[in-house]
Amino acid sequence: MTQRFLSFSARTALILASGLSLWSCDPDDKNDASPAGSNVFIVQEGNFQRSNSEVVGFNSEVGAIINAALFRSVNNRILGDVAQSMTVVGDLGYIVVNNSRKIEVVSLPDFSEKATISTFTNAAGQADTLRLPRYFATSNNKGYVSQTVNYSVPNGLIGVINLTTNQVTKTIPVGKQPEQMAVVGNKLFVSNNGGNTVSVINTLTDVVEATITVADSPASMVVDKNNAVWVMCSGQSTYSSTPPYAPIVTVPGSLVRIDPATNAVTTTLRFAAGQQAGGLRTNGAKDQLFFRRQAGVYRMAITDAALPTAPLFQRRGGFYSLDVDPRTGVIYGSPENFSGTARFFRYQTTGQVIDSFTIGTSANSFVFYK
C-alpha cells in the first residue's frame, strides 16, 4: 500500500514540477529596439513610488514609436521614480527624476548614460542631495534645477550645476514650490507656484536680483519672439464642503506678460470667474501661445488683447500634457491615464486630429530634438 502510494506521490510531484516550469514562462519583455531615429522624446512620469518612469522614442516624420523604453533598453537599468521633465541641451538630454532626487544626463540621440546628478557637498560642507527636483534650464554654460524641497517649506531652491563636472555648485533659495523657468539673456525667471511671484536670478552672479509679483500660482512659462516672458498663473481653488465636493475656483487664472528688460508686468489677462488654465506653450515662430483649460486646447497670438474664448479643439477628459512641435506646428497631447496604457494624439495646426499612438502611461511632455 505504502509502496504504491510513494510512487504515486513521486509521480505527482514530477507532474507538478513540470507544470510549474511551464507556468513560470513569464511574458517576453525583451526590448531589442534600436534607440536610433527618435526625434521626439516622450516623457512618461509613471506612477509615484513604482519607479516605472520612462522615455519613449518617437519619429515624427515616419509617425512611429521607435523605442518604447529608451532609457532601460540602452542603459540596462530603470530610469527612476517620476520623471518630471526632460530638457535638451545640444546633444545632451537632462531628465529630471523627481522622486529619485536626481537628474540623469544622456547623450542624444543614442540615449546612453553620461552622468547622474544627485548628491553634492553643499556650501556648509555637508553631504546634500537634490530635493524633489522639477525642471531644468541652462544659461551661461550652467544648469539650473528647480526644487520643491517639500510642500510646506516657504522657500524652494534653485540648484546651480556646473555642466562640465555635473556637480551642484550652489543653491539659491527662491519662493515656494518653484516650477518652470525661462531664460532671457543673463536672466533666469523662476515661477514660484506656491505663491504669486516670479524670482529673477542673474546667471552671471547667481543671485536673486528681483522678485516680481504676478498672480496666484504661476507655473508654466514661455519666451516669445520679442523675448517677452509669458507666465500662466493657475489661480486658486478649494473644494466644496458638501458632497460631491465640487471644486470652487476662488481666484481665477491669469496670463501674465513680463518685460525682461525692466522686470515689469506689462500685461495681465485674467480669466473669467471660475476659470483656470495651465500648460502654456508656444510655437516654433514664438508668435502664438497655447494653453489647456478643462477639456479644451486654446490658441492665441501674442498680440491678442484678450484671451480666446473658443478652444482650438477639445477632447473629453482633456489632456495631461500638451506640446507644439516647433518644426511643424503639429500639436501633441496625451489624455490622463495612469492605471493602464495611455495614448497620445497628434493634431494639425487647425486642430484636426492626425493620428494616435499607445504608450505606457500618460506622457507629461513631448521634447523635440533636431
Binding site: L6, W23, G360
Partner: protein, 640 residues
C-alpha cells in the same frame, strides 16, 4: 525551474502522515457534555470550500502576522509592499476590499479603506484562522465578494491551565516575544495572549546605477508592533453563556520606499482597539444571542512631503439573533445588526457619521443524513441606497461511501454586495456619495474525496470550480472635467477559476507526516465598462497571478519537528492593460525544532526557522525590495 523540482521531490517522496488539518465546519473543541452548545454561523454556510490553517505551522512564530501565515501556508496571493509593510489580499481574483475579515463574527476591515492590512494582525490574536473563499461567505455580511477570513478562538472547556512563552531573534534586527496563557474549567474559560515584535529591516538589496550594480541596505523600513488579546467566557447556569473579548493591536512602521525612489521618511501608526461582549441563551429548541462591539481604528501617516494625515474611526455595533430548531433536521436563524461609524479623517475635511443596518434569515435543512442544505437571505440598509437582497444557497451531499472512500459533492450560489467605503463616499476631493453598492453573483461547485485506508493514513482531496461576476465595480479614475480622481461604478469584472488541494496524513508510529499541496488557477478580467473607462477588457487584472501553488509539510519524530513551506506565484501584471509584469517566483521556507520534555507539565522547544531559503531576489509589489535568505532562532517554554 530545477530548484522547484528539487524542492518538491524529496519531501513529496517521503510522503507520509498525521491528523489532517481541520477543514470542516464543525467545532470539535466543544465538549459533548457542554451545557450550552451554541450553533456557529458557519453551520449555515455549507457548500463552499473552507480552509483552516494548520495551527502548529501558524504558531511557529506567534508574533508573526496573518500576512506571513497566509502567504506561506496557502496559495492565496497577498500584495506585499515589503516585509512588515502593507499586505493586501486578493481572494479569487477580487480586490482587497472584497475580502471580509471577521473577528469573532464582527468585520474588522478598516471602514475608511474597506480592507484589512494583514501585516497588522498578529496570529496569536486568535487561535483559529479559517479562509472561506467565494461569495457564499456573504452569510457573514458586507464586503464578502471574494471571500472571508474568519478569526476566532473557540473555547475548550475543562482544559485547565496551559500556555507558552516564546522569544525570537532574527536577521535584520528582528526581535520578538510572545506569551499565551489560558485556563478553563467547566464554567469559566480565559485566554490571554500578547506579542511584541520589532525589526530594523535593513536587509541588503541590489540596484543598478550608472556605476554598475551596487548593494544597498534597505532604509526606512523598521517596524515595531504589539498585540494584546484577552478572551473570557463564563457559563451562567445551565442555559446562559457570557463572553467578552478585547484585542488591541499597535504598529509603528516606517514606510519602505520603492527601489529607485527617494526616502521620504514616511511613517505610519496603526492602532486598533476592539472590544466585544456577548450573551447567548440556549433553552430547548431556542437559542438567542446578543452581542455588542466597539472598535477604534487609528491610522496616522506622515512624511517629509505629506506632513501629517490622520484618521480615526470609531465603530459601535450590535448584533442580535434568534435560532429555532424546528425539527431535528431543520433549523432557522434570524438576526440583525446595526453599525454606527464616527469618522474623524483629515481627508474628509469634517467629522462624519454613518449608520448601517442589515437583517438576515438563515435556514439549515438536512433532509437525509448525507444531505445538508442551507438557504440564507441578507438585506442591508445604508443611507442613500439599498443594496440588493443577498441570498445564498448551498448544499453538500455525501454521494458515496465505500470502504475507505468518501465522496462529497458541494455547491453554492450567492449574490453578495459591498457597500462603498467611507473614503469612496466622502474623500475630499473626489468622494462620490452617489456610488452604488457593488454586487456579485457567483457560484461554485466542488467535489471532496477522502481516502482513509488505515487508521494511520488518510488522503483528503478537494477540487472546486467557481465563477462570479461583480457588477458596479468601483474604480477611481481621473475626472472628465475636473482635475481630481473620483470613484465611479464603472465596470463589470468576471473572476473564474479552479482550486485543487490535497492533504496527506500518515502516522505509522512515532513518525508523523502531514503534507498538503494546494493549487489555485485564477482568471479575473474586466468584461465590460463605460466608454470613458480606458482600461481594456479581456485581460487579467493587475496583481492577480494566474497560477499559485503552496506545498507544505510537517514531520515529527520523537522530539523533532520539521516543517517546510514552499509557494509558487506566477507572474502578475502591474498595470490594467496587461503590458508590464513582475516575474514569477518560488519561495521556500522551513523550520526545525526539538522539544525537551522537562517535566510532565513543562517542556522546552528550540527552533530554527529559515525564510527565502533559495535566496531569491523577487518582488511582490513593483519596486519594493524583499529580504534575501534570513532566519529566526526561537526558544519556547510550554506548560499545561
Amino acid at each position: 525551474m530545477l530548484a522547484v523540482a528539487i524542492g518538491l521531490l524529496p519531501t513529496a517522496a517521503v510522503q507520509a502522515q498525521r491528523t489532517p488539518i481541520d477543514t470542516s465546519a464543525s467545532t470539535p473543541h466543544l465538549l459533548p457534555t457542554a451545557v450550552v452548545e451554541a450553533a456557529r454561523l458557519s453551520r449555515y454556510a455549507v457548500g463552499s470550500r473552507r480552509t483552516t490553517l494548520d495551527s502548529v505551522a501558524v504558531n511557529q512564530l506567534p508574533a508573526g502576522t496573518l500576512a506571513e501565515a497566509l502567504g506561506r501556508l496557502t496559495p492565496i496571493y497577498l500584495k506585499n509592499y515589503g516585509p512588515g509593510q502593507l499586505s493586501s489580499i486578493t481572494l479569487r481574483g477580487t480586490s482587497a476590499r472584497h475580502t471580509a475579515v471577521l473577528w469573532n463574527g464582527f468585520n474588522i476591515n478598516l471602514p475608511t479603506l474597506g480592507e484589512a492590512d494583514f501585516a497588522l494582525l498578529p496570529v496569536n490574536g486568535a487561535t483559529r484562522i479559517t479562509v472561506q473563499p467565494g461569495p457564499a461567505s456573504a452569510v457573514y455580511g458586507n464586503g464578502a465578494l471574494g471571500g472571508t477570513v474568519l478569526l476566532s478562538s473557540p473555547v475548550q472547556w475543562g482544559a485547565g491551565w496551559r500556555g507558552q512563552a516564546q522569544g525570537d531573534v532574527g536577521n535584520y534586527g528582528m526581535r520578538a516575544g510572545s506569551v499565551e496563557n489560558s485556563f478553563s474549567n467547566e464554567k469559566l474559560a480565559l485566554r490571554t495572549a500578547a506579542s511584541y515584535r520589532e525589526g530594523q529591516n535593513d536587509f541588503p538589496y541590489q540596484e543598478r546605477t550608472i556605476d554598475g550594480l551596487v548593494t544597498r541596505r534597505q532604509t526606512n523600513a523598521a517596524y515595531r508592533q504589539w498585540s494584546l488579546t484577552q478572551d473570557a467566557t463564563l457559563r451562567l447556569g445551565q442555559h446562559g453563556e457570557l463572553m467578552g473579548a478585547v484585542w488591541l493591536t499597535d504598529a509603528d512602521r516606517r514606510i519602505q520606499p520603492g527601489i529607485g525612489a527617494a526616502n521620504d521618511n514616511a511613517q505610519e501608526r496603526d492602532q486598533s482597539r476592539r472590544l466585544l461582549a456577548g450573551y447567548r441563551h440556549v433553552a430547548g429548541r431556542h437559542e438567542t444571542g446578543v452581542r455588542a462591539a466597539w472598535f477604534e481604528d487609528i491610522l496616522n501617516y506622515r512624511s517629509n512631503t505629506v506632513v501629517q494625515s490622520n484618521s480615526r474611526v470609531r465603530t459601535s455595533q450590535v448584533q442580535a439573533d434568534h435560532s429555532l430548531q424546528l425539527l431535528s433536521t431543520l433549523s432557522v436563524r434570524v438576526g440583525g445588526e446595526a453599525q454606527h461609524f464616527a469618522a474623524r479623517v483629515d481627508g474628509y475635511g469634517q467629522d462624519l457619521t454613518e449608520n448601517r443596518f442589515s437583517g438576515y434569515a438563515l435556514v439549515r435543512y438536512d433532509p437525509l443524513p448525507t444531505l445538508r442544505l442551507t438557504a440564507n437571505f441578507r438585506q442591508a440598509f445604508i443611507p442613500g441606497h439599498r443594496p440588493p437582497l443577498a441570498p445564498t444557497l448551498g448544499g453538500e451531499w455525501q454521494v458515496w461511501q465505500h470502504d475507505a472512500h468518501t465522496l462529497l459533492l458541494k455547491g453554492s450560489a450567492a449574490r453578495s454586495y459591498r457597500v462603498p467605503t467611507l473614503n469612496e463616499r466622502y474623500w475630499r476631493p473626489g468622494g462620490n456619495p452617489n456610488l452604488l453598492p457593488e454586487t456579485s453573483l457567483g457560484y461554485e461547485a466542488g467535489v471532496q474525496h477522502t481516502f482513509k485506508p488505515t487508521p494511520t493514513l488518510s488522503l483528503a482531496t478537494e477540487l472546486t470550480a467557481y465563477r462570479q461576476q461583480v457588477r458596479n465595480w468601483v474604480q477611481w479614475l481621473p475626472g472628465d472635467t475636473v482635475s481630481y480622481w473620483s470613484p465611479r461604478n464603472l465596470r463589470r469584472v468576471r473572476a473564474q477559476g479552479a482550486e485543487l488541494s490535497s492533504e496527506l496524513s500518515w502516522q505509522p508510529g512515532r513518525y508523523a507526516l502531514t503534507a498538503r499541496v494546494a493549487y489555485a488557477y485564477t482568471q479575473s478580467q474586466k468584461v465590460s465598462g463605460y466608454t470613458f473607462d480606458s482600461d481594456p477588457v479581456g485581460v487579467q487584472l493587475p496583481y492577480v497571478p494566474l497560477h499559485t501553488v503552496a506545498f507544505t509539510t510537517r514531520q515529527s519524530w520523537r522530539g523533532w519537528q520539521l516543517l517546510t513551506q514552499s509557494t509558487f506565484t506566477s507572474f502578475r501584471y502591474t498595470d490594467a492593460s496587461a503590458t508590464t509584469f513582475l516575474p514569477s517566483y518560488f519561495l521556500l521556507s522551513g523550520s526545525l525544532g526539538y522539544t525537551f520534555t522537562i517535566h510532565n507539565t513543562w517542556s522546552l522547544t528550540a527552533l530554527v526557522q529559515g525564510f527565502n531559503l533559495t535566496n531569491l531576489t523577487y518582488n511582490s509589489y513593483e519596486a519594493r525590495a524583499m529580504p534575501p535568505r534570513n532566519g529566526v532562532l526561537s526558544l519556547r517554554v510550554s506548560w499545561r
